[in-house]
């Protein structure tokens, strides 16, 4: 199920540079996304992980300029997609990108569908609006897409209403809608979180299959490191509105360098490890109006020392594709203390 990336396959499809999305609420500024940079190459699957409030979803919405006031993408942020600067496009221009070139699926497959239209109508609507297809051609395209995403008997099922479908089937419909226009990038925000584990397995399999057949690039946003391990080739770990670690998936799991990444990996209960005490990251994610000075993770970090309070860590390179925003990479001697610390208290 691993989807191999295509390193060096020309220019990246998406290039995000110093993205900052702030919410100006009263006198306070919530720096939800605060200096995020990353690339996605054609046909690769990139995972974005982190807990609630780390900035994953706002990053995704920013890519499509779907952030509503008081949220604002700050000056100096850059998003280039297929060679175009998305932040300088007018409304009409960005509308043409959305749905056509970049598509998105969300977590809630019920709320994203209109309950009073059949699923066929809703998929066809995309073709009618975006491709100005005729009614008949749009309907045919809808049936073809429903078939593509593995909906059995698509011609009949197209006449169903959303409430007549299970959660897994609804999520397939949303994926079909997202893919009608042959986008080159799919942003999937927690696409399997609301689903049962057996249905999640079906959807992940579908995404992997579509990704391979259509050469689709996927940005998969999730809190589940298991999902990341199974379907992505590269991973971005977010905390405090920033990317705190980035690495190829195997390297991230083999050699995590940021204490937050390490904490996430150790805090997961795993099959085959019974009734051990779980490692714990103390405390909770601070509000985005009050990121700590210096390293934003330091108040939850077992290894923080004065430098972490005084100096925001840059992204230190670990290897060619691997970087971590942690002073431990710069001062590896301090990392020696890692093994000696008991995380489980």
């Amino acid at each position: 199920m691993t989807m191999p990336g295509r390193p060096g396959a020309g220019e990246p499809l998406l290039r995000v540079h110093d993205l900052r999305t702030y919410f100006h609420i009263g006198g306070a500024v919530a720096r939800a996304v605060d200096g995020v940079s990353f690339d996605i190459r054609a046909g690769e699957t990139v995972g974005m992980v982190g807990e609630s409030g780390c900035g994953k979803s706002v990053t995704a919405l920013s890519l499509l300029r779907l952030v509503d006031p008081p949220g604002r993408i700050e000056a100096g942020s850059r998003i280039e997609f297929e060679g175009r600067d998305l932040l300088s496009l007018d409304e009409e221009g960005i509308r043409r990108i959305r749905g056509n070139r970049i598509a998105m699926v969300f977590q809630e497959p019920m709320t994203a569908l209109n309950p009073v239209f059949t699923i066929g109508d809703q998929v066809a609507e995309v073709a009618r609006v975006h491709a100005r297809a005729s009614r008949r051609a749009a309907w045919e395209r809808a049936v073809e897409m429903l078939n593509l995403v593995g909906i059995p008997d698509p011609r009949e099922r197209a006449k169903s209403y959303p409430h007549q479908l299970s959660g897994g089937m609804r999520q397939r419909v949303l994926i079909a809608m997202a893919l009608v226009m042959n986008p080159s990038l799919l942003i999937a925000d927690e696409p399997t979180t609301a689903l049962d584990v057996t249905i999640q397995a079906q959807i992940l399999e579908l995404l992997a299959d579509l990704q391979q057949r259509l050469g689709l690039a996927v940005l998969l946003i999730t809190h589940d490191l298991g999902v990341v391990a199974e379907v992505t080739s590269r991973v971005l770990v977010m905390y405090g509105g920033q990317i705190v670690e980035r690495a190829p998936v195997r390297e991230l799991f083999r050699d995590p360098r940021h204490p937050y990444t390490r904490g996430l990996l150790e805090a997961m209960p795993r099959l085959g490890r019974q009734r051990d005490r779980l490692a714990v990251i103390p405390g909770t994610v601070p509000p985005p109006t009050h990121w700590p000075t210096g390293c934003r993770f330091r108040d939850r970090c077992a290894f923080a020392w004065p430098r972490c309070a005084n100096e925001p860590p840059p992204e230190y390179p670990v290897s060619a594709d691997h970087a971590a925003r942690c002073h431990l990479v710069d001062e590896p001697a301090r990392a020696g203390a890692v093994a000696a610390v008991d995380h489980t208290s």
Binding site: G168, Q200, Q274, D276, R277
Partner: protein
């Protein structure tokens, strides 16, 4: 309101309840517990059928143990937990707690019994009253059960909050001032206030982020160790259940389809459904490739369950055949302490002759797909 279901022609006559893992001295014992919800339709809302949310479940929970209940949405696990506490009145069956017939209790006696049995809910956002301080929420049980009053109650509330890892002075704050993990701790403090022996934990960590989930799991395990609490731990997350539970019941469409110690169940899942469920759990290890059993389709509607083995339409057992669609598989002990409802997984009391009469073409054969470590 509800009518008794007509026995299906192929079903054997009702036997004595099969109790997987029966205990000599159980804290809680449930026999043939059933909850049917009427399905209403039409202008006058006539009952036109019924959903068998819990369909004849029998099990024992021991003192101080964690019994895990796993299954997907609609399998009846939440209804089971609520029926035990009589938050939902069961349609039939017996519940005994510490030897007392829970279903016979009324009024004051029921309230007194409830002191021993508490529940922690999944959603820490909607299970706390937003207009009550968390102190008042925790204190409510103390007052109702006359366990403490006045300054003593205040003192007890602070103590309880501290026990669950919150600060005593938080008592005067409101739920919206807390994160999800902190609210779940308040829910735990509220349950502990009345000093129960048994807590139904209904998906207590599902809504929490990984790091906070670990904090709450550790807290629940510490409290169990220190207070000898028994848990019925209901969850859809198999790794969380393996972590918490001593014994595990797997539910599918209102029935227990497998029951074993956590060690046996996870090492050697025998019910094809459990095998598929385990194989579907994403493993946080990009090097280990797993052979996944992808189940076809969705969980069928409990209003219209498949005949015979309720799992047969989605089953991947190589010996699945026509008999599976007609014979209701008895929950039987296939190995010591390991109960499975599958006539194709030997040994079975459903003889090959009986299976053949029901149209079987494939003899039972042991099927134990290697789930992990496949490359």
């Amino acid at each position: 309101m509800s009518t008794r279901p007509a026995p299906s022609p192929a079903a054997p006559p009702a036997p004595a309840p099969v109790v997987p893992g029966v205990l000599a001295d159980p804290l809680l014992s449930i026999r043939r517990l059933t909850k049917h919800f009427p399905v209403r339709s039409g202008l006058f809302g006539r009952a036109t059928g019924q959903v068998r949310a819990v369909d004849g479940v029998s099990l024992d929970v021991g003192h101080g143990e964690t019994l895990g209940v796993v299954g997907e949405s609609g399998c009846g696990k939440t209804t089971l937990g609520r029926t035990i506490l009589r938050l939902i009145e069961p349609t039939g069956g017996d519940i005994r707690f510490d030897g007392v017939d829970v279903l016979a209790l009324r009024g004051k006696a029921l309230r007194t019994m409830r002191r021993n049995m508490q529940i922690i809910f999944q959603d820490p956002f909607s299970s706390l009253n937003p207009r009550m301080t968390i102190g008042a929420t925790v204190r409510e049980g103390l007052t109702v059960h006359r366990l403490a009053e006045g300054a003593a109650a205040d003192q007890r509330v602070r103590q309880l909050l501290e026990e669950v890892g919150l600060r005593g002075e938080y008592a005067s704050r409101y739920p919206h001032e807390f994160s999800g993990g902190q609210r779940q701790r308040v829910g735990i403090a509220r349950a502990l206030a009345v000093e129960p022996k048994f807590i139904v934990c209904d998906e207590p960590v599902s809504a929490l982020d990984v790091s906070v989930q670990a904090q709450v799991i550790n807290l629940l395990m510490d409290l169990q160790r220190d207070r000898g609490l028994a848990y019925l731990f209901i969850a859809h997350d198999l790794s969380v259940v393996e972590h918490m539970a001593n014994r595990v019941a797997v539910m599918y469409l209102g029935r227990i389809v497998e029951f074993a110690s956590a060690t046996d169940l996870y090492r050697e899942p025998l019910m094809p459904y459990t095998q598929a469920l385990l194989s579907a759990v994403p493993v946080p290890d990009p090097v280990t490739r797993r052979r996944r059993i992808v189940l076809a389709g969705d969980v069928p509607s409990p209003a219209n369950p498949p005949s015979g083995c309720v799992f047969h339409p989605r089953c991947h057992h190589p010996a699945r055949d026509a008999a599976c669609a007609t014979i209701v598989p008895p929950l039987e002990e296939k190995a010591p302490g390991h109960w499975v409802a599958c006539i194709k997984q030997p040994p079975t009391i459903v003889t090959w002759d009986a299976q053949r009469q029901a149209g079987a073409t494939k003899e039972p054969t042991r099927h134990l797909p290697v789930i992990g470590r496949a490359t």
